[in-house]
C-alpha cells in the first residue's frame, strides 16, 4: 500500500491527465476521510431523530406535517442534479470544451437552488401552522437533521459558483480538476444523505 500502488477509486483522470491523476490520489483520499466524519455527524442526527420521534409533546406529529408530493419532487430534483454533475465530471475527464462543463455545472447549480427553494417552501409551510423547532423535541430533531442537509446543499452550491468562476478565470488546471472531483464526491454524498432522509424521515412519517 505504498505510494504509487493505490489510486483514488472512482472517476479519476487516468490516462487523460496522468499528472493530476497522481495528485488526485491523496487529495481525494483525504476528502473521503472528511466525508466519513461528516457521515458520522449525519448518522448521529439520524439517531437523534429516532430517539426524539415520540417526543412530540402533544404538538404536531410526522403524519400531520409531512407531504409526499413536494418531498418526492425534491428527491427527483436532487437526484437529477447528481446526474448532471456526473455529466460535468465525464465532460472534464474526456477534455470536452469548457462551455459544456460550464453548462452541466450551471444546470447542477440551478437544480440545487431549485431543491433549496422547494425545501424552504416546505419549512415555511410547517412553521406557518405552528410546527416550529421550539415546539417539541421531535420538531427540534427534524429541524436539526433536514436543514443541516439543506445547509450542505447551500455550501455545495456556493462551491459550484466558485468552481465556475475558477474555470473561467484559471481554466482547467490540475487543482481545478481535483477540486471538481472533490466537489463531485460532496454532491453525490448529499444525494445519499437525502435518500436516507427521504426513506427514514419522510416515508415512515407518512404512515399515520
Amino acid at each position: 500500500m505504498t505510494a504509487g500502488e493505490t489510486k483514488h477509486p472512482g472517476l479519476n483522470l487516468g490516462s487523460t491527465d496522468a499528472q493530476a491523476h497522481e495528485a488526485a490520489g491523496s487529495a481525494l483520499f483525504g476528502f473521503w476521510a472528511f466525508l466519513m466524519s461528516d457521515a458520522v455527524i449525519f448518522a448521529l442526527l439520524f439517531a437523534t431523530y429516532g430517539v426524539m420521534l415520540p417526543a412530540t409533546a402533544g404538538g404536531p406529529t410526522p403524519a400531520s406535517e409531512y407531504k409526499i408530493g413536494p418531498t418526492f419532487l425534491e428527491t427527483l430534483v436532487l437526484l437529477t442534479s447528481s446526474l448532471t454533475y456526473g455529466l460535468a465530471s465525464i465532460a472534464m475527464k474526456h477534455g470536452a470544451a469548457q462551455a459544456s462543463i460550464q453548462t452541466w455545472l450551471g444546470l447542477t447549480l440551478a437544480l440545487g437552488l431549485l431543491f433549496l427553494g422547494l425545501e424552504l417552501h416546505d419549512f415555511a409551510g410547517m412553521i406557518a401552522h405552528g410546527a416550529t423547532p421550539m415546539r417539541s423535541g421531535f420538531l427540534s430533531a427534524f429541524f436539526a437533521l433536514v436543514p443541516l442537509h439543506g445547509l450542505h446543499v447551500l455550501a455545495g452550491s456556493l462551491w459550484i459558483v466558485v468552481m465556475m468562476a475558477q474555470l473561467r478565470i484559471i481554466g482547467l488546471d490540475a487543482r481545478v480538476k481535483i477540486n471538481l472531483l472533490r466537489l463531485g464526491l460532496f454532491w453525490h454524498f448529499l444525494d445519499i444523505i437525502w435518500i436516507a432522509i427521504f426513506s427514514t424521515v419522510y416515508l415512515p412519517g407518512l404512515i399515520p
Partner: protein, 694 residues
Amino acid sequence: MSAPLLPALLGRFRWDALPFVRAWENPNANELIAAGAGALVVAGALFMVVLITRLGRWRWLWTEWLTSLDHKKIGIMYIVIALVMLARALIEANLMRLQQAVAIGNPGLVAPEHFAELFSTHGSIMIFFMAMPFLTGLINYLVPLQIGARDVAYPLLNAIGLWLTAAGAGLMMAPLVIGRFSTGGWSGYPPFTEIGFNPGVGPDYWIWAITLGSIASTLAGINIAVTIYKMRCPGMTLMRMPLFAWTSLCTAILMIFAMPPLTVATALLALDRYLDFHFFTNALGGNMMHYANLFWMFGHPEVYIVILPAFGIYSEVVSTFSSKELYGYNSLVIATMAIAVLSFTVWLHHFFTMGQSPSLNAVFGIATMAIGVPTGVKIYNWIWTMFRGEVRFTTPMCYALAFMMTFVLGGLTGIILAFPPLDYIVHNTLFLVAHFHNMLISGTLYGLLAAYTFWFPKAFGFRLDERWGKISCACWVIGFYLAFMPLYVLGAAGMARRTPAVMETAYRPWLYAAEVGALVLFCGFVALLVQLWVSLRNRAATRVFAGDPWDGRALEWSIAAPPPEYNFARLPQVDQRHWFFDAKRKGAPYAPPARYEDIQMPKNSAVAPIIGIASTAAGFALVWHMWWLAILGVLAVVATVITRSFARDTHRLIPASAVERMERTWLDAVARARPIPREMETTPANAGLAEVHP
C-alpha cells in the same frame, strides 16, 4: 447588576462582567482571587507584547512561526499552547486542593460557584487544550520524520487546525478577564447547562471553545491519517512503521470518528440555548440521556485518543533505552488496533447509574473489562523489551517505569469501576477522580513529558539537563501518589467529587496529604521550567547536531538535529523495520546522495492566522450575543477560504545548491563527531553520534 452597555454593539456585556469591577465592588477573598487570575492573564499578555517589541521580533515571529506551514514548527507551536494551558490548569488544581483542605467545616477561600468554574476549566483545559494539543504537536513533529516524508499531506489544513486550537484556547482564557466560565464540569451536562438554569455566558464559552477544539482535532485526524496512508517513503510498509506512527494512525482514525459526536453534542446544546430548541431540556420532549450518550460516544474514544500516542512513545523510549528491539511488535500493533476498536463499545460505563437495565450494564461492564486485555498485553511487551536489555535510567526511561507501575494500579481500580454493582457504591466520589487521574497522569502526561525529553534534542539540537529532568520526574511521580492515593481512600469513604466545602472532619488528614501532593506536582512543572532555562544556558555543551544522541532506531534519528526544513535531502528507501539502526551496524548510515535535487516546499501563508482570528472573534461574539461580529467572523472565514482557493503560487523551491550546502555542513559535523558509547550518552561528550557494536 449594572445595565447592559450599548447592547447593539456589545451584546450582553455589562461592567460587572469584569472581575476587576466585581473585586472593586465586593473585595472578598473569592473576588480578589478571580481578579488576581484576570490580572495575571492581562499582565502575561502585556509582558509578551512588550518583550517581543523590545526584542524587535514581530516580523520574525510572523514569517518564521505564525504563518509557517512547516509541520515541525506547527508541532512545536501546538506544544507551546499545551504548556501554557498546563500551567493554568495546574494552578487551578492547586487552588481546588487548597480550597478542600481549608474548607473543612467552613466555606473556605472561594465561593461554590467559583469552585465549580475551577473544576470545569481544569477538566476542559487538561483534556482539550493540554493533552490534545500536546499529542497533536508531537504527532505533527514526529510522524513525517518517522515515515520518511518531507511534509504532511495537507500543510495548510494543518496550520488551520493549529489556529482553531489556539482560538479555542483563547476562548478558554477569555472568561478569566471578561465574564465567567461554565460551572457544568468538563462534560457540560444539560439540563444544568441549559438556558433555564444557566442563563449567563459560562456554558456558551464552554460550547464554543470545545466546538473549535473538536473541529481542529477532526482536521488534525484527517491530516495525520492521510499522511500515514499516502506519504510513507518507498519500502515503508505499514508493518515497518515505528510503533509511534502506528499509535498515531489509530489516534487519527479515532479523531475522525469520535470528534463528530462531540461536535453534534455541543451544537445541539447550542441550538437549545440560542434558538430555544428542545433536545435536552426538561420540558417539551427534551431528553437529557441523549446528551449523555452523544457525549460519551466521543468521551470514551477520547480516552484512547490521548493514551494511545503515549503508548507509542513508551514503546520508542523503552526500546531505545534498553538497547533492544521492541518485544512483540506485531502483538503491540494488534493490541493498539484492538483498543481503538473496543474504545467505541464501552461508552455506557460512564453512566452505569443512570437508569438502564442491569443486563445492559452487564454487557458494557464486560466490554470494559475486555479492553484491559490488549492493554495488559502491552505492559508485558514493554517488560519483555527491558528483559536482559542494556537499561539506562535516563529521564524518559524513569517516566516509562513510573508509568508501568502506576498505570497498572489505575487499571486495577478501573476494573473495580467496571463492575456495575461496585460502580454504584463509588460513582461520583473522589474514587473516580483518583482513578481517571491515575490513568491520565501516568498514561498521558508522563508519556508526553517523556516524549518532550526524548525528542527535544531532535527538535532543538541540544539535550535537556538530566538532573533537573530527574527532579521534575520525581516531583510528578511523588506528587501524583501524594495527591491521588488519598482520594481513593476519601472516595471509598464516600466523599463526593466536586465538593466545595467538607463537613466531615475525619477527612482532614487525607485532604492535607492531597494538598501537599498538588504542591509537589506544581514543583514538577517549575522544575520543567528550570530545566529548560538551565539547558538553554548550557546548550553550547550539549549540542547533538549529528542528530542521533540515543542510538535511535527510527528514521527521525538519521538526519540532523534540528532537522532541515525539507527533512530528507533524498527520500530514504527502507527495506526493513529498523533500517537506520541496521545501517549503523552495517557501516554506511550517512551516505550522501549521488546528486542533490531541488526540493519543493509550501510557501508561508497568512490564511490560517486569519481564520484563527476570525473564528476567535466569531466565538467570542456568539458568547456575548454581539451578532454583527459573529456574522462578520463567519463571513471572514468563508471569504478567506474562497480567496485562497484561487491562489496558484503556493510553493517555493529550495535549490539543490542550498540543500547541498546544508547537507554538507551536517555530514562534516557527523564526520568530526566522536562516536559515543551508551554509558556516556548524558555527558557533554555526546555530540549526537552513536558508537555501535556490529
